[in-house]
Structure formats: C-alpha cells, structure tokens
Symmetry: C2
Subunit: 359 residues, 2 copies
C-alpha cells in the first residue's frame, strides 16, 4: 500500500493469497473457497480496498457508464427525467455521465468526447440526432436510445409519449368544449415530438371541419412562447383555444395572456399544454395538459438499453408510453361534462392508460 492507492496486490499480500484470488472474491459467481474468501475480505476491509473501476473497465471492455445527453434544463421536464434516469441507472449498477449541448447545435464534437469514454450506452434527450451520429454509434457498437424523440431511421430505439394520441385527445377536448378558433404554439420544428403533436392535433381539427387554425413558433423557450402568445392574441380575431407543444411554453403563454393582455383563462382563451410538469398543477396555473409519465419513460429507456447491453438484443424498438389528459382549469370544459374519444370516456382514462402502460 505504498502511498494512497491500495491495489489488489496489497490485499493479496496481507491475506497470503494471489492477486487472482482477490479478484475472484470481487467477481460475482467466481469460485473461491470460503476460507480464502474470508481472509481476503478481512484484509480488504482492513486496508479499505475496493477494486479500481477504471482498471476493471479497461480489461473487461465495459465501463458500466451510460452517457446521457441533454439540451436544456429550463424546461423542468428534463431535470425530472434526468433525476429518474440517474436513479434507475444507479439501481442497475451503472454510472451516469452527463453531457449538455445546445438543443439545435451539432453535437458531432460531443459524440467524439462520449465515444472516447467507452460508455456502454447512450441516452439522448432533447437533442437532434443526425443519421451520421446514429451511424457512428452503430459502428462503435454502442446502444443508443432516444428519449422524447424519434427518428425516421427505424433501427434506432426510442422512448416517447404517445404524442399523436395525446394531441388528438387535446383536440377532441377542445372541440367538445365548443372552441372555434384554434392555435398551436410549436416547439422546434426539427423535433419529432413537435411534429407528432402538431400534425395529429391539426389533423383532428381538420377532420372536424375546423378551418380557423393558426400556428406560431415558440422554439421550446419561454421567450419564444411569450412572443408567440403576443402575436397570436393581438390579432384582430384571436384564437379561443391554444395548444402548446409543452407545459413550459403553455405556462408562459398563460402569463402573457393574463398579465400582459388582461385576458381571462379560460373564459377568454383556453390554454392546454403537454408534459404535466410539477408547476402545471400549482394553483396559480392549474394547467390542463397531457401527462408524460417521466418515471415510466425513464424506466423504459433504461430497460431498452440494458436489454441490448446485457441481453444482446437487436435494438430498434420504438416504445410509446401512453399518458392521460389531465383536466384542470386552464381550458373551458365541455358543457355536458362527458366526452368520449374512440368510444372511451375521456374523463376517466386513467385506468385504461395505466393498464396499457404495463403491457
């Protein structure tokens, strides 16, 4: 134990065994006699020895580290997701290596940084995946899973909410509420999540014969959403219902509507979000929104990764997590109090959704 660093050799010496014996004692499922195990463990205890994870990684070729790359933390959905990911990963005995990047920036550079660390897997959230990057991961044989995003490339795995269904539910709810003039505040146009929510919402409205539809870009930022809200609500004939690509923007839109423009929500304008972040439930907002079950999604992402790391699965699965419409007070409710979607009661979808989530 020369100075500071205790190696397996130190333990071996003290226990009077070989380094291999020590190694085996720390390798689950290796064959060691209980006698040696006892002596080794005692020596290790005395010396405060724990195998060096870096050295182990080097010769196993597996680091037990997962890279998580996130774009922004302003939207509380991401910190929440990160927290769940960290917990799940820790539970599986993996470490979380965190990377951040501009949401729209090229993370080409970043990927080199990641690959260099020999991570066993990558979780990508709130970031644009180019097919070149997907290609690099495949070449390096590193499992990759997108969270809250998909790609056209069916080979890459992803975990998303059931965005189309969620957006449809919002459209139906708003329609049933008797709204006539609709608006959508978009996130980044490049994001699949935005695309899915927007097109499904739009489609449903069209099916219902709605022609009054406007769209503004909010770019997923608070400022962007505020500007969008101003443009929208100061039109000659403003919308009476606004669906925002996420809660983070919906909250901003509510603030502009009420405090800048003196509008009443939902009397003058209904506002609906997506995610059900914590602040959506605060009494100052009581935002009607579609839940995105963070914990379920985190679990699914980790499971997907583990399946490919440990089980050696093929990958390329698109997991879609259902989430219910959470009806609060930011959108006018249907007069009847009952709405059905696809023959299902929209007001009590909890059980159905939960059941589907299990599957």
């Amino acid at each position: 134990m020369s100075r500071g660093v205790i190696t397996s050799a130190d333990v071996a010496l003290r226990a009077g065994v070989s380094r291999s014996a020590v190694s085996r004692c720390f390798t689950p499922g290796a064959s060691v006699s209980s006698k040696t195990r006892g002596r080794v463990m005692e020596a290790a205890q005395a010396l405060g020895y724990r195998p060096n994870a870096i050295a182990r990684s080097l010769n196993k070729g597996r680091s037990r580290m997962i890279a998580v790359v996130l774009g922004y933390m302003d939207n509380p959905f991401y910190p929440a997701m990160l927290e769940r990911l960290a917990a799940r990963l820790q539970a599986c005995g993996y470490r979380l290596l965190l990377f951040t990047a501009k949401p729209d920036g090229s993370c080409d550079e970043l990927f080199s940084e990641i690959l260099v660390y020999q991570v066993d897997g990558i979780i990508l959230g709130s970031i644009l995946l180019t097919s070149a990057l997907a290609q690099r991961c495949r070449a390096a044989r590193i499992p990759l899973v997108l969270v809250n995003r998909t790609t056209d490339d069916r080979v890459v795995s992803s975990v998303t909410a059931d965005n189309r269904n969620g957006a449809r539910a919002v459209a139906d709810f708003l329609l049933a509420g008797g709204h006539k003039r609709f608006a959508y505040v978009a996130g980044l146009a490049s994001s699949s999540t935005n695309h899915d929510r927007e097109t499904a919402f739009r489609k449903r409205l069209t099916e219902a014969g709605v022609s009054a539809f406007i769209r503004e870009e909010g770019a997923y930022t608070r400022e962007g959403a505020q500007d969008a809200a101003r443009r929208l609500l100061q039109r000659p004939r403003p919308p009476d219902a606004i669906f925002c690509a996420n809660d983070h923007m919906a909250l901003a839109v509510m603030d502009v509507a009420r405090f800048e423009l003196g509008l009443r929500v939902p009397e003058d304008v209904s506002i609906v979000g997506y995610d059900d972040v914590a602040s959506a439930a605060w009494p100052s907002y009581r935002l009607t929104t579609v839940e995105q079950p963070v914990d379920v999604m985190a679990q699914a992402a980790v499971d997907s990764l583990m399946g490919r790391i440990e089980g050696g699965q093929r990958g390329g699965e698109q997991v879609r997590i259902p989430g219910e419409l959470v009806v609060r007070d930011s959108a006018r409710r249907p007069a009847s109090g009952i709405v059905t979607v696809d023959g299902q009661d929209l007001w009590r979808p909890r059980e159905r959704m939960k059941a589907r989530a299990k599957a």
Copy 2:
C-alpha cells in the same frame, strides 16, 4: 483493427511508426516531427481513431471525471446549478459523473461507488457531509468542494452565497417596510445554509427590537412549506411578513396564502424567498428574493477544484458569493422608497455586489 476497436497499434501500423509516436501526437506539448504527425493524423483520421480515455486514465492515475452529487431536482435551483457545472466542467475538459441521493440519507455507500471510479474531484450539493466522509476524501486525496453548503470543518472547501448578508438584507427590507410580526419557514435544520439564513435573519430582528417571531419547518419541500404556511397563517394573530429559506418554498407559501386562504400578497402578508430561481420572476409570482448567482457559484466551485487538481493547492477555502436583494412585488415596500444597509443603498446594490464577486 481486428473488429470494432481501433487501437494506437492499428494507427501506428498504418502510419509506419511506433505506438509511442501515435501517443505523442495526441499528447499536447509532446515532441513530434511535423512529418510523422502528418502521417499519424492521416492514419488516425482514416481509421477513425481516438485514444481510449479509460486506458489513459488508468496509467495517468487521473480520470478527468468529476463526481457531482445532488439531492433533489424539485427545487429548480439545483438543475440550474447542474447545468452550469456541466458546462463549466466540459469547458475545462472534464466529464461530469452524476450521483443522486436522498438529501438527508447517509451517502456512505454512495461514496464508495464514487471513489471506485477514481474521480479527480467531487462536488457536493444539497447533501449532508459527515466528517467521516470528508475524512475519506482526504485519505484518498480527492479534492472535495461543497456547493450551497459549508461545514464546521475548516479544511473542506465550499462555495456558498453570502447567506448571512442576504438574510440581513431581507430583515432590513422587511423592517423598513413597516412589518411587525415575522415568521421564518425553515429548510432542513441540518443544513448550514438554513442555519446561516435563519440566525442572521433572527439576529437582525432581535437587534431591531422585534419580539413577534415564529418559525416553522418546511424541510425544503413544497408540501412541507405548504403545511408550514397553513400553520403560520391560520394562527389567531398571523405574521405579516414571512421569510422562506428558499424560493421553492416561498412560491408554495404564496400559493397557499392566496388560493387556499384568500389572502392578498403583499397587502395581507409579505413573502420573501431566497435564490431567485426563474419562476420567481414570473408575473404570477413576482417574488421578492435574494439572488444566488448560479453561474458565478458554479464557476467558483469548478475553479476551486481545478486549483487543487491541477495547481496542487491546499484546499480549505470558503468562498462566499454575494447576491443582491431583488425587489419585486411579493413584499410590501418601504414607504420612502429608499433603504440603506450598512450605509449602502439597498436598492442599487448591483454594482457593488458584482464588483465584489470579481474579487
């Protein structure tokens, strides 16, 4: 380049040089002729080679990874801090290994996990550091810095806001506003930050001859703060000013006051927080609070760590970052419109504070 993994040997072979030559090309400040460098780089490019960080870590004895351990992400101060830390660390060429733990839980187990990864440093936020843990870090020679926390142990480094000054400013502001009956909603009693804010606040009030003072525990959680608010505001003679240990709780208190109890803020009760998180500025709240400059603190924490990792400094520095009182609308303002603290204008402390931060 057998299959998948490209090593320096592959590059060496292709470039017709030794592995050392390759290594040197990727080591800043090593001596290589431009001719070999060219050939090596070309070969590396063609093969897609990048030195294996794990292997490098092993023989350098430095991993260029920093462990960051956080307790909760509910309070948006921490995600914000994390984001800044990630950015700063990335800029210094370090990787961030994220760990989470219960805020009050023993992270003894966790520390073993961390040490095993041979991290070059540890940043601890929102977590209780026992002296045993500090001892272990010292033994392992791993620099440690606390963020938003301190210990009595003067040997461990920390970066905090100037909590006593901030709390004093709040007391003075509230006093000047003509408040008579004060309350404090505490965070975790075990946290130094809470202690500093509470005692300084209390002390100032006492000096001013205030005797009407109550305190309730909020435990840094939204629910805890809500309960505290109910207990406080439903007393026969409720306080007319409440100082909360952080914004996260202050927002919860505002919600209870206004929506559950029908109180007007600040007419019926003034509420002040600490941190200046993003939502404090939202028009629904407009919370008066004390700024905790996240970016400056993150920078300071990283600097402190780097000083000890690269420069070999001794450690044991307690950095205190000043932060100004941000006056918004959740607390009644002094009639005069001018308050001075320690002979300084309280309303325009920005310049002074910023200047001090530089030092």
